[in-house]
Every structure is written in structure tokens, then in C-alpha cells.
């Protein structure tokens, strides 16, 4: 403890963090003194770090036990290698799981020090100056005067959920919408009942890791028969300090309820690749319906493939009751590496799963994404529409499973996978897995691969659009089926993102 007391805490380090570390300090006697020289919690993952996270979130014992059990399982698991993505080996003991890896000194002091390309992106998205500063991790941005309209997003910033704006109105309807850490404290019975029931602790390497170390995330409970009075939106950001990269989201739609949930993601540009491993679990009871939309715009790395987010995400929805419905819509434009398969367990009879996806990869981005439709109940239906766009040196893979179990009588699936190539150095791959174990099931799969046609581009340009506008227009047309599935305000943002992420892809 002496070492810790003597350590000079740099300006800007959260005093709470220091206090928390101090309190559990006894547990850190191994190597703590040397590690703390870094002025923030040590790298690597140990039971002590898990305890620290739990303590910081003021969690009850059962939650800590859950995390510790996950941690033990994680130690026995191996990183999956089957995806068509190639990245340098990740040293999981060289990561920060709680504290801040960058001191305040390296935080940009003003927007002038921020990567202009990133700012350009924010500007194009119509994000006001103050928000731009916050997003870019500029020192003291929170205190800057706000101008223009406020971005109507609830945000998970640095483990602090701001999703409280409409709390009163939501409470009136009986809807609980809060951070998961708050839910663990305030609604333990719900969390205990549902957490880990869709994505079990030991589901996969990254999900297990997340279960041990998740810092925060969102919690939604919609009671029976309630139609959530507004769209719920969470805005995730991997912040400059490299914390909050393991979000956990739990959504429960009780019988006959409905909720539409939007998730936005961004991250500031950093030279070093950052790890992101989130878990989303959705439980849909009888006659309930959930729409989950994502616009993922994590930092993709620069045009030479340096930096960017490694995005290993497990998302799964369980249609537990009869006639339950889930619709996943995702627009994936960011991340250096994407490993993500939002899935649907169609357990209830007549339940339905839909998956609409746009995955855009440019420069050296790699995406291996798709879905799993697991048909367990009778008359279950699923629909998959996937649009993959590759430009630059990018590799884009659709990987999907459609599984018709023996009891899934008359189950139906329709899959459509379209790939669009821009230029001749990128790749598009489609890997569909189909398992049918009963005769009455019907599975349809259609796939196309095409190139952005020079004649189309010339036609647009001869009408006055520059090359990038022409590509954006043609690609937006290609993605139309999926863009239409997005809620209105997200569709606009997504369209602009399509244009932005393909900049520099031609010519």
C-alpha cells in the first residue's frame, strides 16, 4: 500500500478510481507496486481486476460470483480462429480492463489537435461542436458551451449512462430503461432471472470475457402488454481512455409488449488497435416484438490499416414465447475487424426472426458477419437480407447459419446475400451453413455478387455528380432493402455513413 500512497496521481485521473483501487488494494499485493507506476490500474486480467470492476459498480455478491465464475471459464477457453479475419495476436494480459491507459496529458487539448478526418466525419454526421469535442476526447469538452441542437441520443460514456432523459415518462408506462449497473443494484430479481440465459457465460471466448469484465451497458424491461412510448436509444462510445469496451446489454420484452431499440457506436481515432467485446441479450416473451437497430461506426483504422477497433460482439435474441418477433437491423461501417453474428433463437411456435444487414468495408477493414437462425418451434419464420460492400483492400464475409430442428415443423427461411465490389483489390465471400432436420421445413438461399458498374458511374457523373457522390448513390441504391428497415432518423444517418465510409474508394 505504501507504493500506492506515494504514487503521484496525475491530474485528471478519476479520484474515485484511485479510491476504489486503494480500497481493494490488499488484493493487489502481487506486482501492484510496479504496475501502479503507470498511475492507473494495472494491465492484464486477474481475479483482482474482476473484483475491482464489481466493487466499482457497487455490485452485490451474487454478481461478483457470476463474474468470477466467468473469469474461471474464460481461462479455459481458446480464441476462435475460424472467421475469415486476419489480425495480429491479441495479448489479453496486455489490455486494460478497467483503468485508463492514457493519461490526461495525451488527451487532445483542443479540436486543433484532433485528427481532422475524424472531425470531418462528425461534421458530416451533423454532430454539434460540443459533441464533436466530447467524441474526440478533447480535454474539458463537457464544460464547453453547447451550441445548436442537442443530439438526441442517450449515451454510455465512460461507464456513465446518460439514458435518463425520459425516465419519468418511461416509468409511467412501466418501462425500465437504465444502465445495467443500476439495474443490478435496483432490479436484481430481473437481472438474476435473465442475465446469461440467452448468451450463457461460457458461450464463446469473447462472451465469456465480457461476462467477467463488462463495465456497463444498458438494461431494458418492458412489462406485459406495454408498447414502449418512444424509441430507446443508446449511444456507445469507446472513449479516449480505453475503458468501457465491454458493454453488456440486456433487453426483456415481456408478454405482448413492443420496443424499438437503437444503438449507435463511435470511437475516437487511435493508432493502436483497441479491443471491443460486447454482449447483447434479448428475451422476447409470448406475442412480444423487439426491433434492434445498430449503426456501428467504430474507428476503422486509417487508410493504411493502422489502428482501429477489433470488434468481437455476441448478440442474440431468444423468442421464448409463441408468436414472438425479433428484427435485427445493422449498418456496419466501422471497425478494423468485425466478428459479429446477431442471432435469433426461434423457440416459440410461430415466432419470427429477421436480420437486415449492411456491412461496408473499405481500405484494410475486414468483416466476418452474418446471423444464425435457429428454428426450434413450429411454423417459425426467418428472413435474412445481407448486403456486403467491399472497397479498397477490404475483405467482407457473410457467414450465416440456418438450422431447422426436428420439431420445427413447417419452418421457413428466406436468405438473400448480395455482395458489391468496388475496385479490384477487395474480396467478398459468402459462407452459408444450412442444417435441415425435418422434411416440412423450407429454406431458400439467393446470393449475388456484382461490381459497381462504370456505366452507372458515368451516367451519374454526366448529370453533374462527382465520383464519390455517384458511388454513394449507387451503393445506397444497392442497400435500399436494408435502409428501409431502419427507423427514419437512423436511415438518414446510415445513408450519410455509406457515403462517408466509401470516400477514397474510387479513382
Amino acid at each position: 500500500m505504501a507504493a500506492l500512497d506515494q504514487t503521484q496521481v496525475k491530474e485528471g485521473i478519476d479520484q474515485e478510481t484511485v479510491d476504489a483501487v486503494r480500497e481493494v488494494g490488499g488484493a493487489y499485493k502481487h506486482g501492484w507496486a510496479t504496475d501502479i507506476e503507470m498511475e492507473y490500474a494495472p494491465k492484464g486480467l486477474t481475479t483482482d481486476i474482476v473484483r475491482l470492476i464489481s466493487q466499482k459498480n457497487e455490485e452485490p455478491q451474487w454478481m461478483l460470483d457470476w463474474r468470477l465464475q466467468a473469469y474461471d471459464r474464460w481461462l479455459t477457453k481458446e480464441e476462435p480462429s475460424w472467421a475469415m479475419v486476419d489480425y495480429p495476436e491479441i495479448d489479453f494480459q496486455d489490455q486494460y480492463y478497467y483503468a485508463r491507459p492514457k493519461s490526461m496529458e495525451v488527451k487532445p487539448k483542443s479540436l486543433d489537435e484532433v485528427d481532422p478526418k475524424l472531425l470531418e466525419t462528425y461534421k458530416k454526421l451533423g454532430i454539434p461542436l460540443k459533441e464533436q469535442m466530447i467524441l474526440a476526447g478533447v480535454e474539458g469538452a463537457e464544460n464547453a458551451p453547447a451550441e445548436g441542437r442537442k443530439v438526441a441520443v442517450d449515451a454510455v460514456f465512460d461507464s456513465v449512462s446518460l439514458g435518463t432523459t425520459f425516465k419519468a415518462e418511461l416509468a409511467e408506462a412501466g418501462v425500465i430503461f437504465c444502465s445495467i449497473s443500476e439495474a443490478i443494484r435496483e432490479h436484481p430479481e430481473l437481472v438474476k432471472k435473465y442475465l446469461g440465459t440467452v448468451v450463457p457465460v461460457s458461450d464463446n471466448f469473447y462472451a465469456t470475457l465480457n461476462s467477467a469484465v463488462f463495465s456497463d451497458g444498458s438494461f431494458v424491461y418492458v412489462p406485459p402488454g406495454v408498447r414502449c412510448p418512444m424509441e430507446l436509444s443508446t449511444y456507445f462510445r469507446i472513449n479516449a481512455e480505453n475503458t468501457g469496451q465491454f458493454e453488456r446489454t440486456l433487453i426483456i420484452a415481456d408478454k405482448g409488449s413492443y420496443v424499438s431499440y437503437l444503438e449507435g457506436c463511435t470511437a475516437p481515432a487511435r493508432d493502436i488497435a483497441q479491443l471491443h467485446a460486447a454482449v447483447v441479450e434479448i428475451i422476447i416473451e409470448e406475442d412480444a416484438e423487439v426491433k434492434y437497430s445498430t449503426v456501428q461506426n467504430w474507428y476503422p483504422g486509417d487508410e493504411n490499416g493502422k489502428g482501429g477497433i477489433y470488434n468481437f460482439v455476441t448478440k442474440r435474441a431468444d423468442c421464448r414465447g409463441d408468436r414472438a418477433k425479433i428484427m435485427w437491423t445493422q449498418v456496419e461501417t466501422g471497425s478494423a475487424v468485425t466478428w459479429k453474428y446477431p442471432s435469433c433463437i426461434l423457440r416459440g411456435d410461430d415466432s419470427q426472426g429477421e436480420f437486415y444487414s449492411i456491412a461496408i468495408t473499405n481500405n484494410y477493414q475486414q468483416a466476418d458477419t452474418g446471423t444464425k437462425m435457429v428454428h426450434l418451434g413450429k411454423n417459425t419464420k426467418s428472413r435474412i437480407v445481407s448486403k456486403g460492400i467491399s472497397a479498397g483492400h477490404a475483405q467482407n464475409t457473410y457467414r450465416g447459419l440456418v438450422s431447422m430442428h426436428p420439431k420445427a415443423k413447417n419452418a421457413r427461411n428466406y436468405t438473400q446475400c448480395d455482395s458489391l465490389l468496388i475496385g479490384n483489390k477487395c474480396g467478398a465471400h459468402t459462407v452459408p451453413y444450412i442444417e435441415v432436420k425435418n422434411n416440412s421445413a423450407r429454406v431458400e438461399h439467393e446470393a449475388t455478387t456484382s461490381k459497381v458498374d462504370d456505366d452507372q458511374l458515368f451516367y451519374c457523373r454526366s448529370r453533374g455528380m462527382d465520383e464519390e457522390a455517384a458511388v454513394a448513390l449507387v451503393v445506397n441504391g444497392f442497400c435500399k432493402d436494408v435502409l428501409q428497415a431502419l427507423p427514419m432518423e437512423f436511415a438518414m444517418e446510415a445513408q450519410q455513413l455509406v457515403a462517408i465510409s466509401l470516400e477514397g474508394s474510387v479513382g
Partner: protein, 251 residues
């Protein structure tokens, strides 16, 4: 207005000369027609002027109101006031016709430093113009040229032309694939745009389009050159005697 001097063009990837010294001047407010047999270089001329890739200009020049066209990107030529009505308009799946038009109009306005047209103004304008070309509202919503009939595609080209109000219009075989009624409609659309200032270059195989769009000057093109220039009577001569006579006469 449009000045083409000694224009020589070859294919970029092949050693094949297509235009071998084209000289042509279209004055403001005039309609010039270019007729000629297949493979004479008519369509190549329209592509080269509008900036399509795959061609290499080996000699000569082309300018619009004194501005060197060959130095400009395709979109800059459009903004400078050049418009090409395509012989085979391209399909763009998923992009609504209206969205396409509005994107084009506002791209040109932006390039000229003007404010974008508001959605309401645009809608009013496009509906009015579409109505005059007998294009119904439903066609404006459909994806660009996807599933359009031949006549619809060509009317759509004229709609774009009207909305973009160019200085110089090139019509590349706009009559091909049209029945008589459709051709009349298209010709009426073009005639409505003849305002005494705008220049037209009408490329066609047949005289029949020129019955509806009356040219001031007719050029005959063969083997990469303009071999004969005359008045509207020249088109009639082609109609009656074919190109053989004129070709023989020149040689």
C-alpha cells in the same frame, strides 16, 4: 457555342482510331444534326464530349463557350452546361428516379456555388416538367430506368435535360427503339426546350426524327469525319438515296 476542331480520338486500350479530324461548330440557339452509317463515330463523338472513359484524344480540341471541355471531368462538363441524352440510359437499381434527379440538380447547383433547391420547390418543378412529357408520378418514384420501356427511358432522359437546363444538349440516337407516338412526345419535349439560346446536337440514323425536330444544319459523318454539311434538305437526300451516294460523291 460548341467548338470542335480537328478532333482525333482513339480507343484507350486498342490501337484503333475512331475520330479522324472532326470539325464542328454549333452556334447558340441552333439545332445541328449528325447523320451517318453505323460505326461512323457518331456515338463516340458524344461520349468523348461528355467525358466518358476509355477514349484517348490524340489531337484537336473541343470547347463550350470558350471553356476547354477535354480538360474537365465528366461532372464538370455537366456543370458547365453540357448534357448528353443517352442512347441506352443506364439502370440504377434501388435509386428512385426523383432522388437521382434531385441529387443531380443539387450537385450542379453546389458546383456553381448556389444553394440547393428545397424539396418543395424541386417537387413542384419536377411535377410540372414531368406532366409536359406525359411522365406520371409513379414513374418518378420507380428506380432509375429499371423496368422502363424504351419510350419511358427516352422521355426520362428529356426530363433530366429539362430539369438540368443545360446550354448545350447532345441527343444520341434518341429516336432508336421508339414508335412514332413516343418519338413525337420526345420531340415535343425537345422542341419545348428550344429557346433561341440553347444549342442542340442531334445524332440520328434516320431522317424521321428530323421531321419533328427541325434542324438548322445537317452533317453527314462517315469513317470518323464529317464529310458533308448542308441544310435540312441533306437529311431528305439521305432518306431517299441512303448514304452510298454521298459517300461515293465524297470519295
Amino acid at each position: 457555342m460548341l467548338n470542335i476542331k480537328n478532333l482525333h480520338v482513339k480507343l484507350e486500350d486498342e490501337d484503333k482510331q475512331i475520330l479522324k479530324g472532326v470539325n464542328l461548330t454549333v452556334e447558340a440557339g441552333k439545332v445541328h444534326a449528325i447523320m451517318g452509317p453505323n460505326g461512323s463515330g457518331k456515338s463516340t463523338l458524344s461520349y468523348v464530349l461528355s467525358g466518358k472513359g476509355g477514349y484517348e484524344v490524340t489531337d484537336g480540341s473541343a470547347s463550350l463557350d470558350g471553356q476547354d471541355l477535354l480538360e474537365l471531368e465528366a461532372e464538370e462538363r455537366a456543370t458547365a452546361g453540357l448534357f448528353l441524352a443517352f442512347q441506352y440510359p443506364v439502370e440504377i437499381p434501388g435509386v428512385g428516379n426523383m432522388t437521382f434527379l434531385r441529387t443531380a440538380v443539387n450537385a450542379q447547383r453546389k458546383a456553381r456555388g448556389e444553394d440547393p433547391m428545397s424539396a418543395a420547390d424541386f417537387l413542384k418543378e419536377v411535377r410540372k416538367t414531368a406532366k409536359s412529357l406525359k411522365i406520371d408520378a409513379e414513374m418518378l418514384k420507380r428506380p432509375v430506368n429499371v423496368g422502363f420501356s424504351g419510350g419511358e427511358k427516352k422521355r426520362n432522359e428529356i426530363l433530366q435535360m429539362a430539369m438540368l437546363s443545360p446550354k448545350m444538349c447532345i441527343l444520341d440516337e434518341t429516336d432508336s427503339g421508339l414508335d412514332v407516338d413516343a418519338m413525337k412526345l420526345v420531340a415535343e419535349g425537345v422542341n419545348a426546350l428550344r429557346d433561341g439560346k440553347r444549342g442542340f446536337l442531334v445524332i440520328t440514323h434516320y431522317q424521321r426524327l428530323l421531321d419533328h425536330i427541325k434542324p438548322d444544319v445537317v452533317h453527314i459523318m462517315a469513317n470518323g469525319r464529317i464529310i458533308k454539311t448542308g441544310g435540312p434538305e441533306l437529311a431528305l437526300e439521305v432518306e431517299n438515296n441512303g448514304y452510298a451516294g454521298i459517300l461515293a460523291e465524297v470519295e
